[in-house]
């Protein structure tokens, strides 16, 4: 089967810092792929390379059979790529609803303003922000802004959705709700790559997991395989909190 996304020997430097090197893996249609690794491992950078915010210094990314080299983020959005930002980026002076309408208008389906309004209402309901629809996006709290990120990305009706730490900062019951939301999104046929530090959630959700450390892939496999992987455990030893979570998940 042709993968939806192929990452082939990708490297990216920032000055003297090698943020990614030789990263290679594939993502298949319909799966949830977990992307984990210690802080600064290069996870967010990889997302930025996938959606062409950064160009890779080496290697190439292929989305839906086409190399992304030379394509801009907006080309990829039209092709069916959508993402959330780890550090939220609301369009502050626009209403919550208009934020989501932007997602629907300019995403894969390139909808008219009228259609986009209907999609926005539906998606806002889905993520539980209906009551806030007419508020300015800048006035939401952080958890709500995270959901807004999610809503905007979903409104684009993407084929591949990149989620960057959507669980961070949520309380346990919010996490349960968000995990359920992610499951529902996948059930609609959307392929997902998910960066997450909340181990039990990612182990629960993912079909496969890729582990990054210092910009390199150190392990790929099912959640069971990853938990049992000695190399992964060592990588996390530098971060006792995460190591503990990893153990608990095992």
């Amino acid at each position: 089967m042709e993968p939806l996304l192929r990452i082939d020997n990708v490297g990216r430097r920032f000055g003297g810092l090698q943020a990614l090197s030789g990263v290679t893996f594939e993502v298949f249609e319909g799966e949830i792929l977990g992307l984990i690794g210690p802080n600064g491992a290069g996870k967010t950078t990889l997302f930025n390379v996938i959606d062409s915010v950064y160009e890779p210094n080496e290697g190439q990314v292929t989305f839906r059979g086409q190399p992304t080299k030379g394509k801009k983020p907006y080309h990829l959005a039209r092709m069916g790529l959508a993402r959330t930002h780890q550090i939220v980026r609301p369009l502050s002076e626009l209403t919550v609803r208009d934020n989501v309408i932007v997602g629907a208008c300019f995403g894969r389906e390139n909808r008219s303003l009228g259609d986009a309004g209907e999609i926005a209402d539906e998606v806002l309901h889905f993520v539980g922000l209906s009551e806030r629809a007419d508020q300015l996006a800048g006035s939401l709290n952080v958890a709500q802004k995270k959901r807004l990120e999610m809503a905007r990305a979903l409104a684009a009706r993407p084929l591949l959705l990149l989620l960057d730490e959507v669980l961070a900062g949520l309380n346990p019951s919010e996490i349960v709700a968000m995990v359920e939301t992610v499951r529902n999104i996948r059930a609609q046929g959307v392929t997902i790559i998910m960066i997450e530090h909340v181990m039990h959630a990612i182990m629960n959700l993912s079909d496969r997991i890729v582990v990054l450390e210092y910009g390199q892939v150190i392990a790929t496999g099912t959640p069971q395989e990853i938990i049992a992987n000695q190399r992964v455990i060592e990588a996390y030893l530098g971060d006792p909190k995460l190591a503990e979570q990893l153990m608990e998940a095992a």
């Binding site: 959606d51 915010v53 907006y74 980026r89 369009l91 502050s92 997602g103 208008c105 390139n110 684009a156």
Partner: protein, 337 residues
Amino acid sequence: MSTTSDVLGRLHARPAAARWRNPGLWLGMLALLLVGLWPVVSGQAATREVIFTMLLAIALASSLNILMGYTGYVSFGHVVFFGLGGYVSMFLLSLGQPLWVAVPAGGVASGVLAFLLGKAILRLRGTYFALATIGINEAMRTFINNFGPFGGSTGISLNFSVYGNYGGAANALWLAYYAVLALALLAILVSYIVKTSKFGLGLMAIREDEDAAEVMGVFTPNAKTWAYVISAIIPGMVGALFFFKNGNIEPADAFRLQFSIETLVMIMLGGQGTVLGPILGALGYQQLRSFLLTNAFFKDYQLVIAGVLLLLIVLFIPAGAVGWLRKRFPRLRNVLP
């Protein structure tokens, strides 16, 4: 009471149909039309001159607002389009072309210039873009100062006989007045259409966060370029009419940076990014300006006061008058575009 909320409710529920039933838009345009027709009724040339200046300011401020208020790109040198439009049309008029060819040609020339510049300078962000626009205005002034066909530093003067084609000088002045009134109304309509369109939503996304807008699929280079082009065309036509009425054009008059900055103050005063803001700002600023100019004490300090005013707005009501109202009373958002 219930009727108000019914109207607001309907506006919210059916945005497509409600788009053309916005009371703020129509009341604003109607009020402007009445003000614009006042000199026609009274028949006074002096009133006409005062209102001509206001209409001119409204057309320029509403156009610049599309770039500055909606897209978030501040063009300090926007007067370059006013000047270029003026020059192109005066050149055509002096060759014997009729006004109805010369004025649209002025608009087209400005639009083309914006298109050519757009892709290059709209890559710059914030202050760098603002500085580039000043540079372009200065470069254009210098170029035309040395450009033979446009009369170099002496510029172009119309032969008085040109006005004969429009029923004499007195009639020609009225003709220019009507045309500027029409352009001011058109500018407001264009501003509203852009603001309530998908294209306009893309522009506002760029204003709020350009990188996020790109990731969401807004084709930012194209959107910015078209915003720039749209914001340049009407100033080009207004410049054409202004200098037709004036009878002559010189580089120093055509590319006055001060004029650009005054337009910026108007937009800030009324509320950038709103449709009604530039109208209110233009009216308010022109009122203030004519008061200052006729006051013996303030006469020489007009620009100083404009500067202080700008500072006060930025410090205390950065959203401008209409923006402040919309923030303070969220329900007004549906009726004050």
